[in-house]
């Protein structure tokens, strides 16, 4: 990416002056990856913050040549996924928190822009649809979820996602395909359940 090339040049030249630009350019996508991997806004903020701090410390220890050669997008992604594993492991150690597939209990924490009473119905429906997709994604096995988050939520190419995950491209493709297939199965199951709920 051209903007990342300019950014790595700036970071190599003066890390302290350019680091804020990196934060602004990558914070939303790193937060998004963490949020979709962990399913909790506070855990996601912690993982994204940790990742950016570790990135700074790593950059501070690299010589300029090494910084110029970095593929920033993939490199930062690898770091945030590692942080997600640590934060996730710590949370598991604390004990699992209830995951609500219906999204009600989880929504205030996962979606800061939750609709209010004055929200027009079509916006509320869009939020509800988004929550349903988030819940489906959260229900996928971690390997499929990771591959789909990088490919379809973050919008990486397969070669980029494969490099960030350290897996062969074919493996990542297969994981995306299997994840999509499982999402479709979930959608079908929801479709079968809905009429019953309507008459209840």
């Amino acid at each position: 990416m051209e903007t990342d090339d300019r950014l790595t040049d700036a970071l190599a030249h003066d890390l302290d002056a350019a680091f804020d630009v990196l934060v602004v350019a990558h914070q939303d996508r790193l937060y998004t990856i963490a949020l979709r991997m962990l399913g909790d806004a506070r855990d996601a903020e912690e993982a994204a913050q940790d990742a950016l701090v570790r990135a700074y410390r790593a950059l501070a220890s690299y010589d300029p040549e090494r910084i110029r050669e970095l593929r920033l997008r993939g490199w930062l992604t690898t770091i945030v996924l590692n942080r997600c594993r640590s934060v996730g492991a710590r949370r598991t150690a604390r004990g699992p928190k209830p995951i609500s597939i219906d999204g009600d209990a989880a929504r205030p924490a996962t979606e800061p822009e939750a609709p209010t009473a004055t929200t027009p119905p079509e916006v509320a429906e869009r939020h509800a649809e988004r929550d349903r997709w988030a819940a489906r994604l959260a229900a996928l096995p971690a390997a499929y979820r990771t591959a789909i988050v990088l490919r379809h939520v973050d919008g990486m190419s397969y070669p980029e996602a494969a490099a960030a995950l350290g897996r062969p491209e074919g493996t990542v493709k297969a994981q995306v395909h299997r994840g999509i297939a499982q999402l479709r199965t979930m959608l079908e199951a929801e479709g079968r359940r809905e009429p019953e709920e309507m008459t209840a």
Binding site: V24, R29, L52, H152, K173, H177
Partner: protein, 265 residues
């Protein structure tokens, strides 16, 4: 109908829509943690409310409480970093309180980037002076191996970004007078030394009489007047001296704890 293996356009749109904006606190937290932006808050001290600034590397400033705008402008000018209001972390607040009470085991990381090795040597040496004691500028200069740099020591202490925590108030003029103080002037220096159990007026009176050092007639050891080893000296054993040479001629050896040095003119 066969479905494609990869996401359909509808599915791809729904998944791309799961992108979220980072909370506004994320950017600031990262910049503070790596030390590119500082936070500041108020803290109590014997001199009244102070402003304390810090970042992920350590405490970076202690200043007389001014209005926020004035402090932020001064901080930017001296450090090159923005200062934003924050809440003093509990652990740091406790460590500051313990330090001000004289507990030198309370560890406070300091962010002294941008200051010269000489300045940092001077401040590190000032940190060794215990609460309730003072040393002259010349002692600091001698201890850091720059015996002639007395004036530069004074300047470095005046540039101390974290007064009270690095106790530059415990360094006084070689003639025994209190000397300058960066945190609001000499009267504040008297206040803080009094709060630490010293009597600045009596110290200056003794200095005016020419008493630079105090010897103990029973041990024949000579100390700086506030050295803790001399605290339990009987009044009848107390022998004031004008100089280390005078004490030496009388058969007294310098204390190994407070290490008095000859005054530099």
């Amino acid at each position: 109908m066969t479905m494609p293996l990869d996401a359909t356009a509808t599915e791809a749109t729904a998944l791309a829509d799961l992108a979220s904006a980072a909370p506004p606190t994320l950017r600031e937290s990262v910049l503070v943690e790596v030390g590119l932006v500082d936070r500041y808050d108020r803290a109590d001290s014997p001199l009244g409310p102070l402003v304390v600034a810090w970042n992920g590397r350590g405490m970076s400033a202690v200043d007389i409480a001014a209005d926020d705008g004035a402090f932020e402008a001064r901080h930017l000018a001296t450090t090159g970093r923005r200062a934003i209001p924050g809440e003093l972390p509990g652990r740091l607040a406790t460590a500051i309180a313990r330090r001000l009470e004289g507990d030198r085991r309370a560890r406070i990381a300091l962010d002294l980037r941008g200051h010269s090795p000489f300045e940092q040597d001077v401040w590190r040496k000032a940190l060794e002076i215990p609460r309730g004691e003072v040393r002259p500028y010349g002692w600091v200069a001698a201890e850091i191996g720059r015996p002639k740099a007395v004036r530069a020591v004074g300047t470095a202490l005046g540039h101390n970004p974290v007064p009270l925590i690095v106790p530059c108030h415990r360094v006084v003029r070689s003639d025994g007078t209190i000397g300058q103080y960066s945190l609001g002037g000499p009267s504040n220096k008297r206040t803080i030394l009094s709060a630490e159990g010293l009597d600045p007026g009596a110290m200056e009176d003794a200095a005016r009489r020419g008493e630079r050092l105090v010897g103990c007639a029973s041990t024949h050891i000579v100390c700086w007047p506030t050295c803790r080893t001399g605290r339990h000296m009987l009044e009848r054993n107390r022998r004031p001296f004008r100089s280390l040479a005078e004490a030496g001629a009388a058969g007294y050896r310098p204390c190994k704890v407070c290490r008095p040095v000859a005054a530099v003119a």
